[in-house]
Symmetry: C2
Subunit: 116 residues, 2 copies
DNA sequence: CCGTATCCTTCTTGATACTG
DNA sequence: CAGTATCAAGAAGGATACGG
């Protein structure tokens, strides 16, 4: 580890991806390409419209997500990952993989304790 | 991106490293090896004892940090990264680097706007 | 269809004082 | 030295209703 802790920039990255539904929103968009608002909403049933809007706006303001409004009635809005946003993919994948291993590790520990 | 968003485990990883002072605590321990409580406190002047204790306890409960108490008066307690905790290093470095690029990117955008 | 606005609850953090 | 305990403030998230 040769990062000077005083210059820690981990938080700048965390600021982007932390939020109750942000990782899953990003994974959906990375997985599916362009998605309409309602499509995202259906894909994440427990999220409220308010939180979906809020998180998408935050991601948009950081240039991670692109929002395209089609001037129609009824409205149509499509979201997608920007090219810049793609640079987060590696990190998300790494975190998902670490998280998967961590979860199964915890389950193993738990089952060991239960068998004692 | 071939992660099924329904099986997203990014949050399991985020749970570990999210917390106002957790990344910097981890970087200090990864950088310096074993550190005493007071040493950590001095290295992160703005943190309160309460938050330092809380974060360390959480990291310890996830087996990321090891806590060793020396039965002395006055007390001496040393913290270090576990071998398992080392598996987080890659991700933290990746996030720090992404965060650094992101920060300078934002600065560039800002100075462009200022010059208009 | 794609949002806003309002109110409310819960979680996180901080300030401060105290202790073996 | 290395913590706990208590109280308070702020931020994040949720429920619900309404609007172009």
């Amino acid at each position: 580890m040769n990062i000077d802790p005083k210059l820690c920039q981990v938080d700048s990255a965390l600021d982007i991806i932390v939020g109750k539904w942000k990782p899953i929103i990003l994974l959906h968009l990375m997985h599916n390409g362009r998605m309409r608002f309602s499509e995202l909403k259906r894909s994440i049933p427990e999220i409220t419209q308010k939180m979906l809007t809020k998180h998408l706006r935050e991601l948009e303001s950081e240039d991670i997500v692109k929002r395209v409004v089609y001037p129609q009635v009824p409205p149509k809005v499509e979201y997608s990952i920007t090219e810049y946003g793609r640079s987060l993919e590696e990190i998300l994948v790494a975190m998902h993989e670490w998280g998967s291993r961590h979860t199964s590790r915890k389950k193993q520990k738990l089952s060991k304790e239960m068998s004692v």
